[in-house]
Symmetry: C2
Subunit: 114 residues, 2 copies
């Protein structure tokens, strides 16, 4: 597997690309919430434990730039913004499902031992 270029940046392998697009602590949890419905900013904020405004905003912006979520701003006061998955976002859900399942299985095994 040789190096390749994606959107102007060099990657060493496909895993690295995926990690950059949906890796980190918050991106998959965000995508997961949007799995089957649109959500407002504040709803995401309330639904994802421990996330800060800064993290929620930056991660949403990156997911938008990379084509995973759609951002719909309504010109009302107080402001209202709705987030939803794009086609690409929907396509990545099975992968997240498998990662979550694997994580849960790790936790279960650990619980059995203790």
């Amino acid at each position: 597997m040789p190096d390749f270029i994606f959107k102007g940046k060099v990657y060493y392998n496909p895993v690295q690309l995926v990690m950059e697009q949906i890796g980190g602590v918050w991106k998959m949890p965000i995508l997961w919430r949007l799995k089957d419905h649109t959500m407002r900013y504040g709803e995401l904020r309330n639904d994802i434990p421990h996330i800060s405004d800064k993290m929620l905003t930056t991660q949403l912006r990156e997911l938008e730039k990379d084509g995973y979520v759609h951002r719909q701003v309504y010109a009302v006061v107080p402001p209202k913004t709705e987030y939803s998955l794009t086609e690409r976002g929907r396509e990545v859900i099975p992968l997240i499902t498998q990662i979550r399942e694997y994580g849960s299985s790790l936790i279960e095994k650990e619980a059995q031992k203790a």
Copy 2:
């Protein structure tokens, strides 16, 4: 999904745990090489482009500590160490396969556009 504790550390969700165990730039590429055979340190080193001694060593140690790889040291000179997957390591391969496939599909789509 509430917080939980795994080996003494608090996690916010299962994704975060998986990311910590096999995330980052190098761990999955390492596990992938060991997929169907034991490899010596130097073989891994030569086979994984751009990886440094420091990264290879630290990531192997963490994978060993977390139970994904087995480390077999032979008392010979010059030194010889063989790495192989444990049961847990083998179990995680399907997940890595899917992540790689997803990454490859991203690359393909991007190539079609350009």
